[in-house]
């Protein structure tokens, strides 16, 4: 009997757990450790944030699904890894701290033979003064945050109905944020909603981000073939902002969020402020801060985790300039270089470097997006890693499956307004996610597979995907037929 322990039940961890359980014989165990009792389809949080969905519609309890599928569930937060065990325990283990009502804070050792770290991001609101739902800005990163944003939106609309003007600031709350796509979706859903509620004329809407240009999205932007030209995503994005009357500030690092005012530094060194009655600003992400200890109890966190707290895997982490970045720097098997029974997938693994070019202000403030790891690649790498581990647990010698983001495409639907008949969304495909300027010298990507368009069809697909992925995550009949 062998045991696979998965830390995190988000898009990556849950995918790995369901696939591993389905493939493994009864004599092996799959254990999931996650602090939340509910699964969240995070992409639909933006709809919770404008009041068109409720938190209950985008989440469901995990325990019944794990009971049905035979996965052992511990509602707990992993605190430290002990990959060599310790004096009292020969097997490697994870120290976990319960978050279950009634048992909260109780510590337990969970032994493992194989470990997948899929703990996702820590939302680093503390990186910027005044940032976050407990302080002066809003977020849509969790269903709870999004519900709070929706209430704030209702209040703002109430004020507008009484004749007040309101200023909305949407974007990134720090110079090194990622996930611009999520903020973009919230921006246009908000704009759509204000029009639907008949108050758009009383709103000034401004986008603020650390991107060098609009349309960067943390992947250095992309080129799309349209109307006889190869056109950069910047042009299409600026077009949409102009069409919908949204102003934009790019190359900006938000430094401080006060009630009603946001202060930022620009790449050329200016210190500026902007009024914001309503500010939805995403936080930067780091790893969740797991620590690691060797058999003697000496701390080895630095050899397993990057300074960002994301876990080192099989990427090339040697520092080098942008011009020398290679697709082969990106990990393939997501295995820890120090312990080959430990893996990290989804947002939890340390990227070797950003995708967008790093930029610094004259005072040295980093102002550039860190690399996004969206749902589709997170789930694909989780599945591949789960299958590799299953092979090992069952003693099969097979070829190791890989999931390099440099050889993987991404399909992404970014909502720009939720309505069955009048909604729109941007439908994008990008191949490969990591640009390969050796293979595609002009644009870094294969133009045949890179596309983008906006329309109602995108909204229908985004809405269908919501139901499809909720269905799949509940492991309902034929869930494996729905691709990652």
């Amino acid at each position: 009997m062998a045991r696979l322990v998965i830390l995190g039940a988000g898009i990556a961890g849950h995918t790995a757990a369901l696939h591993a359980r389905r493939k493994l014989g009864e004599d092996h165990e799959v254990v999931v450790v996650s602090p939340n009792s509910r699964w969240n389809w995070i992409p639909s949080n933006i709809w919770v944030g404008v009041g068109v969905m409720t938190p209950e519609q985008v989440t469901f309890p995990l325990a019944p699904v794990y009971e049905k599928t035979g996965v052992i569930f511990r509602q707990a937060r992993a605190v430290s890894l002990h990959p060599e065990g310790d004096e009292g325990a020969a097997r490697p283990y994870v120290m976990v701290e319960s978050t279950e009502p009634g048992k909260s804070g109780a510590r337990e050792r969970v032994e493992y033979d194989y470990l997948i770290n899929a703990t996702g991001p820590r939302l680093q609101f503390d990186a910027t003064e005044g940032l976050g739902p407990e302080k002066n800005s809003l977020s849509v990163c969790t269903a709870g945050h999004a519900a709070q944003a929706s209430e704030a939106l209702d209040e703002a609309v109430g004020r507008m109905r009484h004749g007040e003007q309101q200023s909305f600031l949407i974007g990134t709350g720090h110079g090194t944020c990622t996930c611009q796509g999520a903020a973009f979706e919230y921006l246009f859903n908000l704009e759509f909603e204000l029009r639907r509620r008949g108050v758009r004329d009383r709103a000034r809407i401004v986008w603020i981000s650390n991107e060098h240009e609009l349309g960067d999205f943390g992947m250095g932007g992309t080129f799309i073939r349209r109307g006889g030209y190869l056109t950069h995503s910047r042009v299409f994005t600026e077009s949409l902002y102009t069409e919908r009357g949204v102003e934009w500030i790019t190359r900006a690092a938000v430094k401080q969020v006060d009630r009603g005012e946001v202060h930022y530094e620009t790449l050329d060194g200016r210190e500026e402020s902007i009024q914001a009655d309503f500010a939805m600003l995403l936080p930067p992400f780091s790893g969740v801060g797991l620590r690691a200890f060797d058999r003697d109890g000496a701390e080895i966190t630095e050899s397993l985790f990057a300074p960002s707290n994301f876990m080192y895997v099989d990427g090339q982490y040697a520092k080098k300039p942008y011009e020398e970045w290679l697709p082969s720097d990106w990990p393939e098997t997501y295995r820890s270089p120090r312990y080959d029974n430990i893996h990290a997938v989804g947002i939890a693994f340390a990227p070797p470097h950003p995708i967008s070019r790093p930029m610094f202000s004259p005072s040295g403030t980093p102002i550039y997006p860190t690399p996004p790891r969206t749902g589709m690649p997170s789930a694909v790498m989780a599945r591949q890693v789960a299958f590799n581990i299953v092979d090992k647990m069952e003693g099969r010698e097979g070829t190791t499956r890989t999931a390099s983001m440099a050889r993987m495409g991404a399909a992404c639907i970014a909502s720009a307004g939720a309505s069955t008949l009048r909604g729109t969304a941007v439908s994008m495909t990008v191949y490969p996610i990591i640009p390969d300027f050796q293979k595609y010298p002009d644009t870094g990507r294969d133009i045949r597979y890179t596309s983008g368009e906006i329309g109602l069809a995108g909204h229908w697909i985004k809405h269908l995907l919501h139901f499809a992925f909720m269905y799949k995550a509940k492991a309902r009949p034929f869930w494996t037929a729905i691709p990652e």
């Binding site: 102009t242 069409e243 495409g409 399909a411 597979y449 109602l456 069809a457 995108g458 691709p483």
Partner: protein, 48 residues
């Protein structure tokens, strides 16, 4: 659409014509696009 004034940031980007905008929510055309986008996405999924 916002008022476009020379030298302001919104003066320069291309903006869609009324026909382009209408086609974005034209159900018949969007049904065709629905099929095309799904095929594109499935092609992307099969590459993994």
């Amino acid at each position: 659409m916002s008022v476009r004034r020379p030298f302001e940031q919104s003066y320069y980007p291309p903006v869609p014509t009324p026909l382009t905008k209408a086609m974005r929510t034209n159900w018949v055309w969007q049904f065709v696009r629905f099929i095309v986008i799904n095929i594109r996405m499935l092609r992307m999924v099969r590459m993994h």
